[in-house]
Symmetry: C2
Subunit: 156 residues, 2 copies
Protein backbone atom coordinates (compact mmCIF):
# COMPACT_ATOMS: atom_id res chain seq x y z
CA UNK A 1 0.00 0.00 0.00
CA UNK A 2 1.52 3.28 -1.10
CA UNK A 3 1.42 6.18 1.37
CA UNK A 4 -1.31 8.78 0.83
CA UNK A 5 0.15 12.07 -0.42
CA UNK A 6 -1.06 14.95 1.82
CA UNK A 7 -2.80 16.64 -1.13
CA UNK A 8 -4.83 13.47 -1.65
CA UNK A 9 -6.29 13.20 1.84
CA UNK A 10 -9.62 14.92 1.03
CA UNK A 11 -10.30 12.19 -1.57
CA UNK A 12 -8.59 9.21 0.11
CA UNK A 13 -12.00 7.75 1.05
CA UNK A 14 -12.61 7.09 -2.65
CA UNK A 15 -9.73 4.62 -3.03
CA UNK A 16 -11.16 1.22 -3.94
CA UNK A 17 -13.82 -0.26 -6.21
CA UNK A 18 -17.40 0.97 -6.57
CA UNK A 19 -20.21 -0.51 -8.65
CA UNK A 20 -23.90 -0.06 -9.29
CA UNK A 21 -26.43 0.97 -11.90
CA UNK A 22 -27.41 4.11 -13.71
CA UNK A 23 -29.82 5.44 -16.26
CA UNK A 24 -29.14 7.55 -19.31
CA UNK A 25 -31.31 9.84 -21.36
CA UNK A 26 -30.93 12.69 -23.84
CA UNK A 27 -33.26 14.42 -26.32
CA UNK A 28 -31.61 12.60 -29.24
CA UNK A 29 -31.66 9.01 -27.88
CA UNK A 30 -33.87 6.36 -26.27
CA UNK A 31 -33.53 6.14 -22.46
CA UNK A 32 -31.32 3.25 -21.32
CA UNK A 33 -30.06 1.55 -18.16
CA UNK A 34 -26.46 0.59 -17.52
CA UNK A 35 -24.20 -1.19 -15.06
CA UNK A 36 -21.05 0.60 -13.95
CA UNK A 37 -17.80 -0.04 -12.14
CA UNK A 38 -15.34 2.64 -11.02
CA UNK A 39 -11.91 2.06 -9.54
CA UNK A 40 -9.88 4.74 -7.76
CA UNK A 41 -6.23 3.83 -7.23
CA UNK A 42 -3.45 5.50 -5.26
CA UNK A 43 0.12 5.42 -6.60
CA UNK A 44 1.59 7.42 -3.72
CA UNK A 45 1.40 10.56 -5.86
CA UNK A 46 -0.87 13.62 -5.37
CA UNK A 47 -3.61 12.27 -7.67
CA UNK A 48 -6.04 9.37 -7.89
CA UNK A 49 -6.08 7.08 -10.91
CA UNK A 50 -9.70 6.82 -12.11
CA UNK A 51 -10.80 3.86 -14.25
CA UNK A 52 -14.45 3.50 -15.23
CA UNK A 53 -16.47 1.19 -17.45
CA UNK A 54 -20.15 0.65 -18.09
CA UNK A 55 -22.10 -2.21 -19.63
CA UNK A 56 -25.54 -3.00 -20.93
CA UNK A 57 -27.96 -4.37 -18.35
CA UNK A 58 -29.52 -6.47 -21.11
CA UNK A 59 -26.54 -8.49 -22.33
CA UNK A 60 -23.52 -7.12 -20.40
CA UNK A 61 -21.85 -5.93 -23.60
CA UNK A 62 -19.39 -3.10 -22.85
CA UNK A 63 -20.74 0.43 -23.40
CA UNK A 64 -18.86 3.60 -22.47
CA UNK A 65 -15.52 3.61 -20.70
CA UNK A 66 -13.28 6.42 -19.50
CA UNK A 67 -10.05 6.80 -17.53
CA UNK A 68 -7.97 9.57 -16.10
CA UNK A 69 -6.64 11.37 -13.06
CA UNK A 70 -8.28 13.31 -10.22
CA UNK A 71 -5.88 15.99 -8.96
CA UNK A 72 -6.95 17.67 -5.70
CA UNK A 73 -5.41 21.11 -5.14
CA UNK A 74 -5.23 23.42 -2.10
CA UNK A 75 -8.38 25.24 -1.00
CA UNK A 76 -10.75 22.46 -2.04
CA UNK A 77 -10.05 22.88 -5.75
CA UNK A 78 -10.14 19.78 -7.96
CA UNK A 79 -8.74 19.16 -11.45
CA UNK A 80 -9.90 16.09 -13.41
CA UNK A 81 -8.44 14.96 -16.75
CA UNK A 82 -10.25 12.23 -18.66
CA UNK A 83 -9.85 10.20 -21.83
CA UNK A 84 -13.02 8.55 -23.13
CA UNK A 85 -13.48 5.56 -25.42
CA UNK A 86 -15.88 7.69 -27.49
CA UNK A 87 -12.90 9.76 -28.70
CA UNK A 88 -13.19 12.66 -26.26
CA UNK A 89 -10.69 14.19 -23.85
CA UNK A 90 -11.96 16.37 -21.00
CA UNK A 91 -10.27 18.72 -18.55
CA UNK A 92 -12.74 19.53 -15.76
CA UNK A 93 -12.30 21.76 -12.73
CA UNK A 94 -14.39 22.55 -9.69
CA UNK A 95 -14.66 22.41 -5.93
CA UNK A 96 -14.76 19.68 -3.30
CA UNK A 97 -17.15 20.35 -0.44
CA UNK A 98 -18.54 18.42 2.51
CA UNK A 99 -19.71 15.13 1.05
CA UNK A 100 -20.00 16.50 -2.46
CA UNK A 101 -18.01 17.75 -5.40
CA UNK A 102 -18.80 19.30 -8.72
CA UNK A 103 -16.62 19.83 -11.80
CA UNK A 104 -17.27 21.53 -15.15
CA UNK A 105 -15.31 21.23 -18.39
CA UNK A 106 -12.56 23.80 -18.75
CA UNK A 107 -12.11 22.23 -22.18
CA UNK A 108 -13.43 19.24 -24.08
CA UNK A 109 -11.80 18.12 -27.29
CA UNK A 110 -12.64 15.34 -29.68
CA UNK A 111 -11.21 13.14 -32.38
CA UNK A 112 -12.40 13.70 -35.97
CA UNK A 113 -15.00 10.92 -35.87
CA UNK A 114 -16.34 11.66 -32.35
CA UNK A 115 -19.63 13.39 -31.53
CA UNK A 116 -19.67 17.13 -30.97
CA UNK A 117 -19.81 17.76 -27.18
CA UNK A 118 -19.40 21.37 -26.02
CA UNK A 119 -19.74 21.32 -22.24
CA UNK A 120 -20.00 18.70 -19.48
CA UNK A 121 -20.99 19.13 -15.83
CA UNK A 122 -20.39 16.29 -13.37
CA UNK A 123 -21.65 16.32 -9.76
CA UNK A 124 -20.99 13.71 -7.07
CA UNK A 125 -22.50 13.19 -3.62
CA UNK A 126 -20.91 10.86 -1.07
CA UNK A 127 -22.69 9.29 1.89
CA UNK A 128 -21.15 6.35 3.72
CA UNK A 129 -20.45 3.65 1.17
CA UNK A 130 -22.59 5.25 -1.53
CA UNK A 131 -21.70 7.52 -4.44
CA UNK A 132 -24.46 9.29 -6.36
CA UNK A 133 -23.57 11.23 -9.46
CA UNK A 134 -25.19 13.11 -12.29
CA UNK A 135 -23.73 14.19 -15.62
CA UNK A 136 -25.19 16.88 -17.87
CA UNK A 137 -23.91 17.88 -21.28
CA UNK A 138 -24.34 20.37 -24.07
CA UNK A 139 -23.90 18.26 -27.21
CA UNK A 140 -24.99 17.65 -30.81
CA UNK A 141 -26.87 20.96 -30.93
CA UNK A 142 -28.78 20.45 -27.66
CA UNK A 143 -28.59 22.86 -24.69
CA UNK A 144 -27.10 21.69 -21.36
CA UNK A 145 -29.31 18.69 -20.46
CA UNK A 146 -29.11 15.88 -17.91
CA UNK A 147 -27.60 12.81 -19.59
CA UNK A 148 -26.69 10.35 -16.79
CA UNK A 149 -27.43 9.57 -13.18
CA UNK A 150 -26.22 6.58 -11.17
CA UNK A 151 -25.83 5.14 -7.67
CA UNK A 152 -22.70 3.14 -6.83
CA UNK A 153 -21.76 1.30 -3.64
CA UNK A 154 -18.41 0.20 -2.33
CA UNK A 155 -17.30 -3.25 -3.48
CA UNK A 156 -13.71 -3.34 -2.27
CA UNK B 1 -10.62 -13.45 -24.36
CA UNK B 2 -12.87 -10.98 -26.15
CA UNK B 3 -13.11 -11.22 -29.92
CA UNK B 4 -11.04 -8.72 -31.93
CA UNK B 5 -13.25 -6.12 -33.60
CA UNK B 6 -12.45 -5.96 -37.36
CA UNK B 7 -11.40 -2.29 -37.05
CA UNK B 8 -8.83 -3.33 -34.45
CA UNK B 9 -7.00 -5.93 -36.54
CA UNK B 10 -4.18 -3.61 -37.72
CA UNK B 11 -3.24 -3.02 -34.06
CA UNK B 12 -4.11 -6.42 -32.57
CA UNK B 13 -0.41 -7.32 -32.34
CA UNK B 14 -0.05 -4.67 -29.62
CA UNK B 15 -2.39 -6.41 -27.16
CA UNK B 16 -0.40 -7.39 -24.07
CA UNK B 17 2.26 -5.93 -21.80
CA UNK B 18 5.46 -4.20 -22.91
CA UNK B 19 8.29 -2.85 -20.76
CA UNK B 20 11.72 -1.32 -21.09
CA UNK B 21 13.71 1.84 -20.57
CA UNK B 22 13.84 5.30 -22.03
CA UNK B 23 15.66 8.57 -21.76
CA UNK B 24 14.26 12.05 -21.48
CA UNK B 25 15.72 15.44 -22.25
CA UNK B 26 14.51 18.98 -22.94
CA UNK B 27 16.17 22.41 -23.04
CA UNK B 28 14.63 23.30 -19.65
CA UNK B 29 15.54 20.14 -17.66
CA UNK B 30 18.41 17.80 -16.80
CA UNK B 31 18.50 14.59 -18.89
CA UNK B 32 17.05 11.57 -17.09
CA UNK B 33 16.49 7.84 -17.56
CA UNK B 34 13.25 6.04 -16.84
CA UNK B 35 11.66 2.61 -16.72
CA UNK B 36 8.34 2.13 -18.48
CA UNK B 37 5.49 -0.34 -18.76
CA UNK B 38 2.66 -0.14 -21.29
CA UNK B 39 -0.41 -2.36 -21.40
CA UNK B 40 -2.75 -2.58 -24.39
CA UNK B 41 -6.06 -4.29 -23.62
CA UNK B 42 -8.92 -5.42 -25.85
CA UNK B 43 -12.51 -5.15 -24.61
CA UNK B 44 -14.07 -6.54 -27.79
CA UNK B 45 -14.73 -2.99 -28.98
CA UNK B 46 -13.10 -1.11 -31.91
CA UNK B 47 -10.39 0.45 -29.73
CA UNK B 48 -7.45 -0.57 -27.56
CA UNK B 49 -7.25 0.47 -23.92
CA UNK B 50 -3.79 2.00 -23.35
CA UNK B 51 -2.33 2.17 -19.83
CA UNK B 52 1.19 3.48 -19.31
CA UNK B 53 3.41 4.28 -16.35
CA UNK B 54 7.03 5.23 -15.91
CA UNK B 55 9.34 5.17 -12.92
CA UNK B 56 12.73 6.45 -11.85
CA UNK B 57 15.63 4.11 -12.58
CA UNK B 58 17.30 5.36 -9.40
CA UNK B 59 14.68 4.56 -6.77
CA UNK B 60 11.67 3.20 -8.71
CA UNK B 61 9.46 6.07 -7.54
CA UNK B 62 6.58 6.63 -10.00
CA UNK B 63 7.12 9.40 -12.56
CA UNK B 64 4.74 10.14 -15.43
CA UNK B 65 1.66 8.06 -16.17
CA UNK B 66 -0.98 8.30 -18.90
CA UNK B 67 -4.00 6.32 -20.06
CA UNK B 68 -6.44 6.40 -22.91
CA UNK B 69 -7.79 4.79 -26.04
CA UNK B 70 -6.29 4.01 -29.45
CA UNK B 71 -9.05 4.11 -32.09
CA UNK B 72 -8.01 2.73 -35.52
CA UNK B 73 -10.17 3.98 -38.40
CA UNK B 74 -10.51 2.91 -42.04
CA UNK B 75 -7.71 3.72 -44.46
CA UNK B 76 -4.94 3.41 -41.88
CA UNK B 77 -6.07 6.44 -39.89
CA UNK B 78 -5.59 6.40 -36.11
CA UNK B 79 -7.18 8.49 -33.36
CA UNK B 80 -5.61 8.48 -29.87
CA UNK B 81 -7.15 10.14 -26.80
CA UNK B 82 -5.02 10.42 -23.66
CA UNK B 83 -5.32 11.65 -20.09
CA UNK B 84 -2.03 12.35 -18.32
CA UNK B 85 -1.20 12.49 -14.63
CA UNK B 86 0.49 15.84 -15.28
CA UNK B 87 -2.95 17.41 -15.87
CA UNK B 88 -3.01 17.24 -19.66
CA UNK B 89 -5.52 15.74 -22.09
CA UNK B 90 -4.43 15.03 -25.67
CA UNK B 91 -6.31 14.13 -28.83
CA UNK B 92 -3.79 12.91 -31.42
CA UNK B 93 -4.36 11.75 -34.98
CA UNK B 94 -2.17 10.23 -37.67
CA UNK B 95 -1.50 7.26 -39.87
CA UNK B 96 -0.59 3.62 -39.33
CA UNK B 97 1.90 2.23 -41.86
CA UNK B 98 3.94 -0.91 -42.28
CA UNK B 99 5.60 -1.46 -38.92
CA UNK B 100 5.26 2.16 -37.89
CA UNK B 101 2.75 4.79 -36.88
CA UNK B 102 2.87 8.46 -36.15
CA UNK B 103 0.34 10.77 -34.48
CA UNK B 104 0.28 14.51 -33.83
CA UNK B 105 -1.90 16.50 -31.42
CA UNK B 106 -5.13 17.72 -32.95
CA UNK B 107 -5.59 19.40 -29.57
CA UNK B 108 -3.89 19.42 -26.20
CA UNK B 109 -5.57 20.96 -23.19
CA UNK B 110 -4.44 21.37 -19.63
CA UNK B 111 -5.66 21.92 -16.12
CA UNK B 112 -4.97 25.31 -14.48
CA UNK B 113 -1.87 24.14 -12.63
CA UNK B 114 -0.36 22.09 -15.49
CA UNK B 115 2.57 23.11 -17.67
CA UNK B 116 1.92 24.86 -20.97
CA UNK B 117 2.30 22.29 -23.77
CA UNK B 118 1.29 23.40 -27.28
CA UNK B 119 2.01 20.46 -29.59
CA UNK B 120 3.08 16.83 -29.23
CA UNK B 121 4.33 14.41 -31.89
CA UNK B 122 4.56 10.70 -31.10
CA UNK B 123 6.16 8.13 -33.45
CA UNK B 124 6.31 4.36 -32.97
CA UNK B 125 8.23 1.65 -34.82
CA UNK B 126 7.42 -2.03 -34.40
CA UNK B 127 9.77 -4.91 -35.14
CA UNK B 128 9.06 -8.37 -33.79
CA UNK B 129 8.67 -8.09 -30.04
CA UNK B 130 10.16 -4.60 -29.86
CA UNK B 131 8.52 -1.16 -29.79
CA UNK B 132 10.66 1.93 -30.29
CA UNK B 133 9.09 5.33 -29.83
CA UNK B 134 9.99 8.98 -29.75
CA UNK B 135 8.01 11.92 -28.42
CA UNK B 136 8.68 15.56 -29.29
CA UNK B 137 6.87 18.56 -27.88
CA UNK B 138 6.50 22.30 -28.18
CA UNK B 139 6.17 23.43 -24.56
CA UNK B 140 7.01 26.13 -22.00
CA UNK B 141 8.15 28.55 -24.71
CA UNK B 142 10.44 26.07 -26.51
CA UNK B 143 10.06 25.10 -30.19
CA UNK B 144 9.20 21.50 -31.15
CA UNK B 145 12.04 19.48 -29.55
CA UNK B 146 12.71 15.80 -28.87
CA UNK B 147 11.67 15.02 -25.29
CA UNK B 148 11.55 11.20 -24.97
CA UNK B 149 12.81 8.06 -26.64
CA UNK B 150 12.44 4.49 -25.40
CA UNK B 151 12.71 0.84 -26.36
CA UNK B 152 10.16 -1.64 -24.99
CA UNK B 153 9.94 -5.41 -25.39
CA UNK B 154 7.03 -7.77 -24.99
CA UNK B 155 6.54 -9.10 -21.45
CA UNK B 156 3.18 -10.83 -21.76
Amino acid sequence: MDAIAPELEPLAFLIGTWAGEGKGDYPTIQPFGYGEEIMFRNLGKPFLVYDQRTWSLEDRRPLHSEMGYWRPKPGGHLEVVLAESTGHAEVLEGEMGDGALSVVTRSISRASTAKDIRRVERSFRFEGDTIRYTMSMEAVGQPLTRHLEAVLTRRG
